[in-house]
């Protein structure tokens, strides 16, 4: 059972929007020793419900356990394990990097090339914003490293199933 490789799974969890529901879910993960890579939670189109996108690291058996244990919580309406192939996955990154007369032009070019927005510029720093998948975010971070990154904020992954919205 332990020979399967650990990979990342994306769970879409629809829960009643009650106080403490996030605590119930995160508590379940910690006491059952499941690894949360990221969690994004917010109200849905129906304000009675929250949608949480949880990225879990584990093997196939673990993710099934997570699915079943989550489904037992009273407030959970539905748990869906999203396949990366049939979902759009996006993360949001805010990055503050040191700006100098020497690197200024490089940073602007880099931002344009990677479709990042420049939110704020001061003589000594620049705040960049990027929405994309983990690969895109990671490349921006890597490329900015030589310029000295002061702070990184990133949300976890949001993911939406593309079923029913197949590209033409």
């Amino acid at each position: 059972m332990s020979d399967t490789k650990a990979t990342e799974y994306i769970l879409s969890v629809r829960a009643k929007n009650t106080p403490g529901v996030l605590l119930r879910i995160s508590g379940l993960f910690s006491r059952r020793c499941y690894n949360i890579m990221s969690i994004v939670a917010a109200q849905t189109e129906d304000e009675q419900y929250s949608e949480m996108i949880i990225v879990v690291r584990g093997d196939d058996r673990i993710v099934r356990q997570v699915d079943k244990q989550l489904s037992k919580l009273e407030e959970i309406e539905q748990v869906t394990v999203l396949e990366r192939d049939s979902a759009v996955v996006r993360e949001h990154l805010l990055l503050r990097v040191c700006r100098t007369p020497e690197n200024s032009e490089f940073l602007v070019t880099l931002a344009n090339a990677l479709h990042a927005s420049i939110l704020q510029v001061s003589p000594t720093a620049m705040i960049l914003e990027l929405v994309g998948d983990a690969t895109a975010l990671n490349s921006l971070i890597e490329l900015c490293k030589p310029c000295q990154i002061e702070q990184i904020l990133r949300t976890g992954a949001m993911a939406m199933s593309t079923q029913g919205v197949e590209a033409c």
């Binding site: 403490g20 605590l23 099934r64 356990q65 079943k68 244990q69 009273e74």
Partner: protein, 564 residues
């Protein structure tokens, strides 16, 4: 009608036929106790010595009756004192509703006097919990609490109610609960047919039953399955009495303190049918070495149990009784004379037996077998946790469900006496004996005063070896006999203590005392305590040491070698 929150609580308890409440008063539940005074003709409140006792009593009440147990405590320490009892019920899937008071709404979150976040504290040990901040939500929440406690895999639910919510008024309309809670689900037909096929073709089936059999009232269906398969059966600690243990198909427990015939049946069977069990580590021992040579059919109401500890070849999700009945109706009776003969040979070769430490010394086996001879199936036995608990499961032949009440999953010392009180209140027609160790006895012995106050005729049977026997046994085996803190040597005079609480006391010193003393205690119509002295070095055997295979228990411990 316009009622206060406290009155609504009473009405909701009556709706659920929850007419017995175990609890303890306090500041935050003053309104609730005032309502209890008003409803004293309809709701029987039993005041324990400690809130933990109330939680265990509600648990024992539920286990003995199948109904939902109810306990009540005030905010802060009252609520935290319930925690061990709630966790005990959670681990053994016992339906319970715990009601706690809390400080006024405006004082919540301000570290007010006797304030704790009990919903936060009990989140991991309840099936679900609530805090009610609006009296308009109170009735709905309590109905939900009872529904959740009894539905699917049962469990405890906590409802926390701030004091002012119990004073606020709200319109209330009585509403009968719509039991049963949904029709029990069946696995799909193709799965059932696969199981039937597997069971038809197997040669050496072995049935292993867990607490789900008791919870779903499946004892009759279990018996029919074993007869149709012509299979031997083992019961987990949680399923004692789920199969008649005087029946020759019964092999004893499986696992850490299982019998040799059970271990051999596990080793040699070709199909293991596991019913309503979660494959506790105390049963499977080394998971990698469990059920290697057979296919596993796992029946459980909670699909999260499938492939959690043990991989199952075929998984049938559903209520144990419903699934067993579905299987039984599709199975023809089979006969497996060779397998049966083999099982019988093992049973003859490896009976459970215990030798006395000295001439005339009392063995737990003799004590429990005598108790069975005198009272037969007219008893409920609760236990504390340790050697005496395993001896009770090994040597008392339970014949019916709900007759052994024990903390299996959490292993809560101090559980038994409170649970015995609850069981006795639930089943006044039977007698309840709490088999205790002298260690466990000291944890919650103040509940003897509750037995005396309400004249609840439980028998507290202390199997007194002057040591924490189970820990001592491990120290003997794995720590070179370094008996760190396990020799109790307390100055307690058990008989005087019992009498001080208003409980009649008896002593058993030699095996000649056993029968007359048990008779006297059984004939006495009130609560009593029996102090039964046994040797300090009696062991629980067979035993599977940690890390070993469940198939290979050790049968004896060489005292001299271990204590050199």
């Amino acid at each position: 009608m316009l009622l206060t929150g406290a009155q609504i609580i009473m009405e909701c308890l009556l709706e659920q036929d929850a007419t017995t409440v175990f609890g303890y008063p306090g500041g935050a539940v003053l309104n609730i106790y005032d309502a209890l005074y008003e409803y004293r003709d309809k709701i029987n409140h039993i005041e324990t010595s400690h809130e933990q006792g109330a939680a265990h009593a509600a648990d024992g009440y539920a286990r003995a009756s199948g109904k939902t147990g109810v306990c009540l405590a005030t905010s802060g320490p009252g609520a935290t004192n319930l925690v061990t009892g709630i966790a005990t019920a959670y681990m053994d899937s016992v339906p319970m509703v715990a009601i706690t008071g809390n400080v006024n709404l405006g004082l919540l979150g301000l570290d007010s006097f006797q304030e704790v976040d009990i919903t936060g504290i009990t989140m991991p040990i309840t099936k679900h919990n609530f805090i009610v901040k609006d009296v308009g939500d109170l009735a709905f929440t309590l109905r939900e609490a009872f529904r959740i406690a009894q539905s699917g895999r049962k469990g405890p639910v906590l409802v926390d109610i701030p004091k002012d919510v119990t004073a606020h008024k709200c319109e209330f309309t009585s509403q009968k609960p719509d039991h049963p809670v949904g029709a029990p689900a069946l696995p799909d037909e193709s799965r059932l047919l696969q199981a039937v096929e597997l069971l038809r073709e197997c040669r050496r089936p072995f049935v292993y039953a867990g607490g789900g059999v008791i919870a779903s009232e499946a004892a009759g269906a279990l018996r029919e399955l074993c007869e149709k398969l012509d299979a031997p059966v083992s019961c987990s600690l949680m399923c004692q009495g789920g199969f008649d243990q005087t029946d020759e198909r019964y092999l004893g427990m499986l696992g850490m303190h299982g019998t040799v015939p059970s271990a051999l049946a596990l080793k040699e069977c070709d199909v293991l049918v596991a019913v309503g069990t979660r494959f506790s580590d105390r049963v499977i021992c080394n998971a990698d070495l469990f059920a290697r040579g057979c296919r596993v059919v796992h029946i459980d109401i909670d699909s999260a149990e499938f492939n959690k500890n043990i991989y199952a070849d075929l998984r049938l999700k559903g209520d144990a009784r419903t699934v067993l009945e579905a299987l039984n109706s599709r199975l023809e009776p089979a006969s497996r004379p060779e397998w049966t003969a083999q099982i019988k040979a093992w049973q003859r070769e490896y009976p459970l037996s215990q030798a006395a430490g000295c001439k005339d010394g009392v063995t737990p086996q003799y004590l429990l077998e005598t108790l069975y001879r005198l009272a037969g199936d007219q008893l409920i036995l609760s236990t504390e946790v340790g050697q005496h608990q395993m001896w009770t499961a090994q040597f008392y032949p339970f014949q019916k469900p709900r007759r052994m009440i024990t903390s299996g999953g959490l292993g809560t010392m101090g559980f038994g006496l409170g649970a015995a009180l609850g069981a006795q209140v639930a089943q006044p027609g039977l007698r309840v004996v709490n088999v205790a160790g002298d260690g466990s006895f000291h944890m919650n012995c103040a509940e003897l005063s509750t037995a005396a106050k309400y004249n609840i005729p439980v028998i507290e049977l202390i199997v007194n070896n002057n040591v924490l026997g189970m820990v001592r046994q491990w120290q003997k085996l794995f720590y070179n006999g370094r008996f760190s803190q396990t020799t109790l040597n307390k100055a307690t005079n058990y008989e005087l203590l019992a009498e001080a609480f208003g409980v009649k006391a008896f002593t058993i010193r030699t095996c000649r005392d056993v029968e007359p003393v048990l008779r006297q205690a059984l004939d006495y119509r009130g609560p009593s305590l029996i102090n039964c002295l046994i040797d300090s070095d009696m062991n629980v055997l067979p035993m599977v040491p940690a890390g070993a295979a469940a198939e290979e228990p050790i049968l004896e411990i060489d005292e001299k070698e271990q204590q050199q």
